[in-house]
């Protein structure tokens, strides 16, 4: 079974960490991911940019674009795509197309770090 492990934290706090603290947390986590990678169990790993860099597309016949992250609490995170686009406009167009004639929302957030992972199949 494939599992996604989603990371949550107070971003204002994490963004205030001094670099040494941030590096220490990443190093601690790298020990775990390296172990998983050695076992061939590690899929893609990504670190997102802050929510201030996000733009949200409200799906529908006429998709509606909102600056900022998806902030509603009545909907749940159901999945994600990773796309490689030259501009935000191109990524937003992809999100518009994906959600066309549906309800719900698609948040477009640039990645800060991306590692493709060791899992091959």
């Amino acid at each position: 079974m494939l599992y996604a492990i989603l990371c949550y934290h107070d971003e204002a706090e994490v963004n205030s960490w001094p670099k040494e603290k941030d590096d220490a947390v990443l190093a601690k986590r790298a020990v775990v991911t390296q172990k998983l990678a050695a076992q061939g169990k590690l899929g893609p790993v990504a670190r997102l940019m802050p929510t201030t860099a996000a733009t949200t597309v409200r799906s529908g016949r006429e998709p509606w674009i909102i600056d900022g992250p998806f902030a509603e609490t009545k909907e749940q995170l159901l999945g994600f795509y990773i796309v490689d686009c030259a501009t935000l406009e191109e990524a937003l167009e992809a999100a518009r197309e994906l959600g066309r004639d549906e309800t719900g929302a698609l948040e477009v957030r640039p990645l800060r770090v991306f590692m493709p992972g060791s899992r091959t199949a």
């Binding site: 204002a12 963004n15 205030s16 960490w17 201030t52």
Partner: protein
Amino acid sequence: MTEIAWIDAVLRSARPQAVSALLRYFRELDQAEEAFQEACLRALKNWPVNGPPRDPTAWLIMVGRNSILDDVRRQSRNRPLPADEIISDLDDAEADLAERLDSSHYRDDVVRLLFICCHPDLPATQQIALALRIVSGLSVKEIARAFLVSESAMEQRITRAKGRVAKADVPFETPGAIERAERLAAVAAMIYLLFNEGYSASGGTVHVRVPLCEEAIRLARLLLRLFPSEPEIMGLTALLLLQHARAPARLDADGSIILLEEQDRRLWDRDMIAEGLALIDKALRHRRPGPYQVQAAIAGVHAHAARAEDTDWAEIDQLYATLERLQPSPVITLNRAVAVSKVQGPGAALTMIEPLASQLSGYFHFFGLKGALLMQLDRAAEARVAFDQAIALANTAAEAAHIRAHLDRLVRESASNSRAGASS
């Protein structure tokens, strides 16, 4: 991270929101600060035992408000009060407050608190000092160190500034759209000033004071979270990130300035650059250009160039032309002249800056650039005069040292030229 360090980090990040909400309750700065202080003390006692609350900011506001109300009650009735444990279990009250925190008047609270620090009667450095004390919660000692003054002098300065803003009477009603925009603009300008204070000290020897820059970025991000659709706030945040990304490459081992062209670009912080560029991309969608967005775009052009010689100077020239239209100023024309010197040559740039001489007669960078252009045009004697004027106007030892290096080169070149002349 130890428990105390973790709680400290939470208190620090909750402070702007919590103090500004408490200010709305009490309408008095000292009382709001005191309430927050009291809430922090209780958090340090309570959280290690009961675990962190679901919404720390809401907890701090609630407990801070109660602590002051408790005091009032204690004084009026002189009766024992319920223990802290009862307050620590806020349940519904906390959820209710957390919900209200998301509403729009809450963001007006934070802008009000920052705006109070921007009182027009206060000189810029006092505005910044006040914001660092009240909004960011830096200690007087830390602020004094950042401004290179004694602790007692800074204490006095902040007390005086507080006295002045206390009388300013900023209204607590929800501001109208125009008033909100004006407040936001004043606050953005103050954050930019704070960043610049850290980026190029206006006195003393230290040239990059990283904590001030980081604090400015933190406040800009806070503002952007509260106003996610304001392209100028995106531009401001992007600008600060893109400039701060270069900090690791700006000074050499002796603390001398390394100019943009000579910086080791591998030292630039790629994460900050990527975030800055992403924010510019976001801002562009709004098609409402403003000075921060254009300045960020200029910094973005530099960030895109892997080597100095790859810089798209024509694009930078265009962007400065836009900036001149949006915000005419001799300093912007001076900056544009740098781009013009790359695209059209030093002669064209010199012609462009000559009319600025009277307006910029006290400006270090004017004479620095003038000297550099004259040097490129092989007008060594005039270049030396300009460099001497620049040194006299230098704000920091690093600036002066940089110009002195140019002068040394002129002296060396003229010596070797005269030798060459003698032997030919």
